[in-house]
């Protein structure tokens, strides 16, 4: 099968889970013998075109200045279309990832006269909470338009499927749930936990509790920070690390200061993948306090790294984690519940080890090869329609 993926992010342009999703999916689909094209955006110091066996990556230069984000999106979609017209002569399916590529994907559907599939990784209404500004309303409209034009819609959790049905009134049989995945081998690194803790400025005796993600309201990092005093009350040797970047970072630093926990808390900012894997493995507990989470790939990364999870009982996280079996779930926006769950891991070593063991086994269900096979099944359904 000849498959065209359209995505605004692809490694090393890693904005969120989407880049990893398309990277592994395209790689696995190519391994299965399909001819896979990925059209994505340029990134500084990276080759524009890459070929590996059946996989062809084309990074597009945006050769037109724009004044704002939306105009820039329209501009880069125009250059995507130019690239499609230049490199794609024959294709069986067009697969678009999220609203950012909707314009070029829908145009490609009509000029190539081929079916369009869209994966919706998240929705604007979930990311911003409410559609209260003009940009969000436009994005929401484009999201709807993409799902309307697509023959099938793929999403990563039942939570997202329900949101698509409720918000866009999509027929349920048009939507397929295929989860995100994890490449276990990439996390098989030998690390010296003590050395990493010390390189981060902590001592080996410190219990290290971390947050990994964008510093935005959606990720709920404020509830993690609010939990810190309650954890320190019981575990004076606990220390906290916040890894990630985002527009709320200054506000969160101020919050840590206000709660008088900045001495125990490090903001590490954005770190590259290789370093992130090492830091992740050195954590004693990870907290995922999201208030909206379509899937939560970080949960799988923690599971495979042997780090016990405390996660909000929302979205995809609620589906991936079984409370008390392979993680601990807490109500969203509840710092006390977060603190209690973290403390439980430190007070019951047997429980902690059981969770780590079960979580490692659970993560095996999420291999990218299985996800590629399921995606291929959706492509083949196009022939039945």
């Amino acid at each position: 099968m000849k498959i065209l993926h359209l995505t605004w992010e692809y490694p090393p342009r890693i904005v969120g889970g989407l880049a990893r999703h398309v990277y592994y999916l395209s790689k696995e689909l190519a391994k299965l013998g399909n001819e896979v094209y990925v059209i994505t955006l340029e990134f500084p110091n990276v080759f524009l075109d890459e070929y590996k066996d059946n996989l062809r990556i084309h990074r597009v230069k945006v050769e037109l200045a724009s004044y704002d984000f939306l105009t820039w999106c329209y501009a880069f979609n125009h250059f995507f279309e130019k690239k499609i017209a230049t490199v794609i002569s024959d294709i069986d399916v067009i697969h678009a990832h999220d609203w950012l590529v909707a314009i070029s994907a829908i145009n490609a559907k009509y000029f190539l006269k081929k079916p369009l599939i869209a994966t919706i990784h998240s929705l604007e209404i979930g990311r911003v909470g409410s559609l209260s500004n003009p940009l969000s309303i436009v994005i929401d409209n484009i999201e709807w338009w993409l799902t309307y034009e697509a023959k099938f819609v793929i999403t990563t959790s039942n939570f997202m499927k329900n949101q698509l049905i409720e918000h866009f009134r999509l027929p349920p049989d048009k939507i397929f749930v295929i989860s995100n995945g994890i490449d276990e081998d990439e996390f098989k690194l030998e690390i010296n936990k003590e050395e990493i803790k010390s390189s981060l400025g902590f001592s080996k005796e410190n219990k290290l509790i971390g947050f990994v993600g964008r510093i935005t309201e959606q990720k709920g990092v404020r509830y993690f920070i609010q939990a810190i005093p309650h954890i320190l009350n019981y575990h004076k040797d606990a220390r906290f690390i916040i890894i990630g970047d985002g527009w709320q970072i200054d506000e969160m630093k101020d919050l840590a200061k206000k709660l008088n926990v900045e001495w125990a808390t490090k903001f590490r900012g954005y770190v590259r993948d290789e370093e992130l894997k090492k830091i992740l493995k050195s954590l004693d507990v990870i907290v995922i306090p999201s208030i909206y989470e379509p899937f939560g790939i970080i949960a799988l990364e923690a599971m495979v790294s042997g780090v016990p999870i405390v996660a909000s009982n929302v979205g995809g996280l609620a589906e991936v984690i079984e409370d008390g079996i392979d993680g601990l779930k807490v109500p969203p926006k509840d710092p006390l519940a977060i603190a209690r769950a973290v403390n439980k891991y430190f007070e019951d070593e047997v429980f902690r080890n059981k969770i780590i063991y079960n979580a490692r086994n659970k993560s095996k269900l999420f291999s990218w090869s299985k996800i590629a096979e399921k995606t291929l099944e959706v492509y083949y359904k196009l022939k039945d329609v």
Binding site: W8, R13, G16, P44, A65, Y67, F69, V128, T216
Partner: protein
């Protein structure tokens, strides 16, 4: 949850939208002032902070967004 973009985000957004992602496409201080319409001292402070954080670089007196800056900016929209 509507929020105004901060001056830092406005700078990153402008550099990205204008294609200033490499030294040969960098923008001048005046380009930024004209586009963002901000007080000179506030702009200087914001540019310095962005440079210190590694989100932008300055070469020959002109500014462009780095890989780290692009990712920081894009995270507001995905």
């Amino acid at each position: 949850m509507y929020r105004e973009l901060s001056i830092h985000e406005k700078i990153l957004m402008f550099l990205n939208s204008m294609g200033a992602i490499q030294a040969n496409k960098a923008m001048s201080f005046n380009d930024l002032i004209n586009a963002i319409n901000e007080d000179t001292r506030i702009m200087e402070k914001a540019l310095l902070e962005l440079m210190n954080e590694g989100y932008i670089k300055k070469e020959n007196g002109r500014f462009y967004i780095t890989e780290k800056g692009i990712i920081r900016l894009m995270r507001s929209f995905s």
